[in-house]
Each structure stands twice: as structure tokens, then as C-alpha cells.
Symmetry: C2
Subunit: 425 residues, 2 copies
Amino acid sequence: MNIPQSSLPRVVIVGGGFAGINLAKTLANKKVQVVLIDKRNYHTFQPLLYQVSSAGLEPDSIAYPLRKIIKKHKNTFFRLAEVENIDTESQEITTNIGILSFDFLVIATGTKTNYFGNKSIETYSMPMKKVPQALNIRSLILQNFEEAAITNDKAFRKALLNFVIVGGGPTGVELAGAIAELKNHILPRDYRDLNANDMEIYLLEGSPRVLPTMSEHASKKAEQFLKKLGVHVKCDTFVKDYDGKKVLTNSSLEMESETLIWAAGVTGNPVKGLHGKSLLDRINRYKVNAFNQVEGYTNIFALGDIALMQTEDYPKGHPQVAQPAIQQGELLGKNLIKLIEGKPLKKFKYRDKGSMATVGRNKAVVDLKHYKFAGFFAWFVWMFIHLMALVGFRNRVVVFFNWCYNYINFDKAARLIIRPFHKLN
Amino acid sequence: MNIPQSSLPRVVIVGGGFAGINLAKTLANKKVQVVLIDKRNYHTFQPLLYQVSSAGLEPDSIAYPLRKIIKKHKNTFFRLAEVENIDTESQEITTNIGILSFDFLVIATGTKTNYFGNKSIETYSMPMKKVPQALNIRSLILQNFEEAAITNDKAFRKALLNFVIVGGGPTGVELAGAIAELKNHILPRDYRDLNANDMEIYLLEGSPRVLPTMSEHASKKAEQFLKKLGVHVKCDTFVKDYDGKKVLTNSSLEMESETLIWAAGVTGNPVKGLHGKSLLDRINRYKVNAFNQVEGYTNIFALGDIALMQTEDYPKGHPQVAQPAIQQGELLGKNLIKLIEGKPLKKFKYRDKGSMATVGRNKAVVDLKHYKFAGFFAWFVWMFIHLMALVGFRNRVVVFFNWCYNYINFDKAARLIIRPFHKLN
């Protein structure tokens, strides 16, 4: 893999998500050699992926070249590669571009869409975990609009304009709100040859309320906001099947839809080669101790979404969001140096900074530890936090300008079908 | 195709390039029904396509939704479609989404890459006439860098880092300059594991000088600028063959290269169905009269790059650039109204506003009628003209910000491999 030999211990980080890049930053120019490996050459700011899907932002606003992040880290190398196997005996990983030895291995591969074993849903629904997937959704929405404008078949037009989003977590809620804004502001202007009332947006959530991981106050407010935007919110509803045409649910609700967006769950991206009794939980998270060491190993770690660290406060593990990943990445960086120097490690303790979700212009919900609020101010806070969390000054400015422009003009400017999406059905 | 019946005469415009959109704008809310047809849902600002290829801009900066352009034109409809045939008898066109009758038909389909019949070059080279093609070039350049970083095969690394651009017109010159900036500013920072000196950029031009349609002063200056940036400029050189590995030319120059960008010529995109003796010239332009009427027809027009209007000043037709297309589109709009009202038509007379090309930061050449200049001021003029020519305030701001950012930071921020390009060889 052409990494220079070094007398320093080598830390191999697999995955350039929030956990991976924060670990890499903490280890910058420290007495270790760092190799950051990712299948893509950029970091994805996943919280704003839904804005790419809904034509509000282009990929370069939320994606950031990984090599640019580490450009001043003289001890760090990047490799565009996919890890295929770990050999814990020889301390080597096998990748599609060769073999690499490690002293410390950090698995920060995150999660992928979970279809819960339903092959038909996997085949016909649209996932939204990666930038190309978000672009596919953008293309499909716009292609559906174009197709609806030319068809004389009323039922087909209705199916084309019926957008079903499965999963009422932050991703589903935010995407439903953004698609509702397309209906409310873009369709009436751009598609005068369509009746905007023909467009429907359904948000289906299996549990009794949307945003089930947030407070009941947030759930109630989010549902109110969504309904105000015209989204049909159906709780206690899960999709049983979808063949590309018809959505079947556990209730009497059935409908024709050409677009089912699947945001109903995630499962880990584990790497082959680690052994141990029930090392992974049912959503493929590695069981780790308070130092993020994978059960049974001292030099192999798992971070963020793919780590299951059971603590008193979080008996089921930490939420699979950015903050635990960032905090674990930073702490592991410090702990690795301590480990090398033979000093005692520090246990991870999650500082919950709260959670939030936005539903649309002037509408968001925020849960802080002692204070929960919703509406315009929450929306403002949501924007500020997300802007500041973006990597790089340039991306912040581009996103900020796009938001201002879209806000003033009730617009979403990136409604381009650059690569048409080819439907299977 | 579901266009409402109307008592007004119907003008069908095929193609949303510079000619098509300027015609549509001139006919906005006039006493005609307008149907604008394009294969894509956006207008492409082709003069800046090379900045997408070289990771300086994202597609939304240079692409603009066609429906947004016509959103206030109450008499205008857009259809995403490909025209397959014209029936001049019944005054109908056949498209992939149905049949449409017309009273006036305007062919503004522009050009595509001309490989001059060489199938091997067509298969293995990279064209740059469309946004997805520009994105493919961006991906391939970055993929080559990544591959070069891991290979131990010196000859292969050299081939990966050898970028050959064929065609010394404005597109080739501007792209060569932009890729040279990647070598000079991005490689040394992002790819410390590569030697930037291993990267070579060749610009091959078949005629005795680059920018052959501009003044000799401009050619000379552009060549100087290119050489300063480290580009190998080879005039009187044309590529005889390329198999994805080896470039063969008419001279003794031969080299291994994994990337051949083909900007050596264009040919028209004519539509089937028009009859007449030698209606098309050798680069597939329709012969038109001074009103852009296609030879032998009074209600069928061709505009811009696909029109060959032979005048005293331009015996070989007008240059295939934006200005003739824009001016012909505007004039035809006025002439169509005159035609309907039975008034005499106005002949087209091209106002040459000059030509220009940029080579890199602070380096451009400008030819005006009585004044030719080069360097920093020319570069400034180039930027201003291109910014103002972009469609839409938002795109101007986004491009302006990106240029400022890239200028200050010697950066190109969109170096993302969103969809990897799959090479054939």
C-alpha cells in the first residue's frame, strides 16, 4: 500500500466519518504514524444529507476532501481503499489495494441502511446514507415531476406524486419537511402544468410518535409542524412490503407510490476477522469497554455508530449520532498516546449536548437537558449549530449563502437531474 | 405530450442552450404558445464547464433549471424529452414522450464532441461537452492521483499522472491551465506521498498555434502563460490513435497516458426528418438564410452552433460560441412575431463583442475589435464578463465566492469523487 516504514507505532483508522476525522485530528503531528482509510475520498456531513436529496444543497457543501482535513498532519497518510479482512495474529489488514500492518486498529466504519431482511424493500426503496444515494433521490423526485406533467393516467400521476418516507427519526422528519417545501413553493411556480394538490407526502413511523428518541414535547411539536406543512404523519405504522408500485403496511393503509424513501433504521458496517463470543449486537455494533477497546482486544478499537459501549447512563449504548462519535474520537486520540506512554487511560463519559431536528423554515425542535423548545428560535439554533459543525470555512459560507437565498426566495436552487436515476420497476 | 390546446401559434424550441433560452425569453408572454424541449432539465453554461472538470466548481454553479428560467412565462411549457423525428408535412415532431404539432419549429440542439470517425478515441478518451462528462473527468483525475499514490510501478505512475488534452481552442487551453494549477497547488499539499514533478500536462493542437480562432497576439501570450504553468504545448500535432494506454500522434511524439481529454472538435446534433440537397455542412450545421430559416423551409429554423449562416463577413459561418447563439435567439424572437403579424423580417447581423480565454490565475487573453490585451487585466475582464453572463443572481454569487476562495487559498474545493469513473481499459 506504499506507506513509508516508520519507527513510530502505526495507528490505522478505518472510516473518515465524525469519529475517524476527530481521532485523526487529535493524533495530528503526535508521535504515531496515522493511516486513514476510507472507501470515499471525502467526509460526509450526514446531518445535512437530506438537503442534497431535496435540491437545497450541492454535494460540495456537505462533503469535504479527507486529504484536505489531514493536509497539515505530517504524520498522517490517506488511502482510498476498502478493508476486507483483519488478521489479529499478524496485526495486518487486507484491503482491495493491498495489505497493511498496524499497531493499533480503529474501526470507525459507521452504519448502512437496515432493511431488516426484506429483499423487496431493499430492491425498490431509496436509501439515503450516502451522497450518491441522496443525489439519486433528488433526480428521482424531479424525474417524477416531469413524468407526472406528461401522463394522462390519473392514477399513475398520483403514484408519481406520492412520496412515502419510512422512519420518523430526524432524517425522516427533516426530509419529509423539505419535500413538503418542494410541494408548497416549487411545484406551484415551476410546474404550472401540474396541480400541486395532487402531491402527497407520507411519513410512516413504527413507534407511537415521531422522533422517538427525543422528548414527548419535541415529538408533539414536530408532528404539528409536519401537519402544518401538509405531511401525512402515520405513527404505529410500519411498511410490510413494497414492490416498486404498492406500499403495504401493518394497518389498513395501502397506497400506490413510485417513491419509497427508506430511513427506518441502520445497521453497522463490521469488518471481517474479529473473533469472540457474540462480539456484535443485533444491529452489528462491536461491544467495547469504556476505552472503546473491542471485547477481547487491547489494540483494536471501535468508535461511534459501530461501537456498543454499555454504561450505567446508557445501558443500550449511546445514540448513533454525531456527538458520541466526535467525543469518542477525541478521547481515543488522547488515550492512544497514554497507552503508548504506559499511562492509565481515561474512561469515556458522554456529554449530552442535547438533540434537535428541523422540520422546515422557522420550524425546529430542540431538547436540551433542562430546557426544551420549538419554533423559530429552535430553528435558528439548529441552523447555527449545524453551520458551525460543518468542516471548513468555505463549506460554512456556501451553506449559509444557500440557506439565506433559499429562505428569502422560498427556493431550492439545485433542482438538477445531472445523472438520471434508472428505476427498476 | 399533454400541452394544452391554444388558439395562438405554437413555437417549439428544441434545445435549452444559449440560443434556445434567449429565444424563449424574447417570446415570454407574447402572443404565441412556446414549448421548450430539452433532454436535460437544466441550461448548461458551457464556458465554465472546465471548472467543474478541474474541481473548482460544482454543477449547480453553472447549471440552471430550465423551468426556473421560464417560470414567469405564462405562455411557455417545458418538456424533458428527446426529439426523434420531424414530419414537415404534418408539422409534427416525434419525441420519446409523444408527438407534438408545431406552427414554427426551432432547432437549437447545439453540438456534440467530434471524434472524426476514430472509434478507438471515441471509446477511450474523455469528452467534455456535458455536465456528467465534466464530473467524470473530475473523478478520473482524482482517482488517478489516488492510484498513483499506491503503485510501485514507476511507468504506470507516470501514465496515471500524464494528462493529455487534445485541442488548443479555448476549452483545451482553459482546462490545461486549470489542471496545471492542480499540479502546482493541490498536489504538493494534498498528496505529500506523490512527487508533483511526476505529473505532466500536454496540450496538443493540430494547427500551428493555440487559440487558432483568436489573434496571433492572443495565441502567443496564451502559449507563454501555459508554459509558465508547466504545460507542454505541442502545435502542429494531432492524435492519430489512443487505445486507453498509448497516445500516437502524427509526429514522433508518443506517450503512455491513462487520461486523454478530447476537446478537438464538435459536430452538430441534427434532427432526422428534414430533406433537401446538402442541407448539412460537413460538421452537421443546417444551412440557414439571414433569418435563420433552414434552406427550403419558412417555418423551420436553426440557431446558434447548429446553424450555418454564410454572410459576407462570415463566409464560413459564425463562430460556434455563445454570442452568435444569444443574438440569433433574441432576433428570431422578434422576427417570429413579425412573421405572424405579416411584417417584414430583419436580417441577422452579428455584433462581435470580441473573444477571450483564461489560462489561470491572473492570466488571460482578450481580443477586442481594436484592442488586444493579456495578463492580469484581461483575466479580470474575463471573470467579470463570465460572471455577468451566468444565468441567475444565485449562481453569480456562488461562482464569485468560489473564485475568491480559490484565489486566496490557491485551492479547488470540489475535489470529490462522488461517482467513481469506471475506466474501460
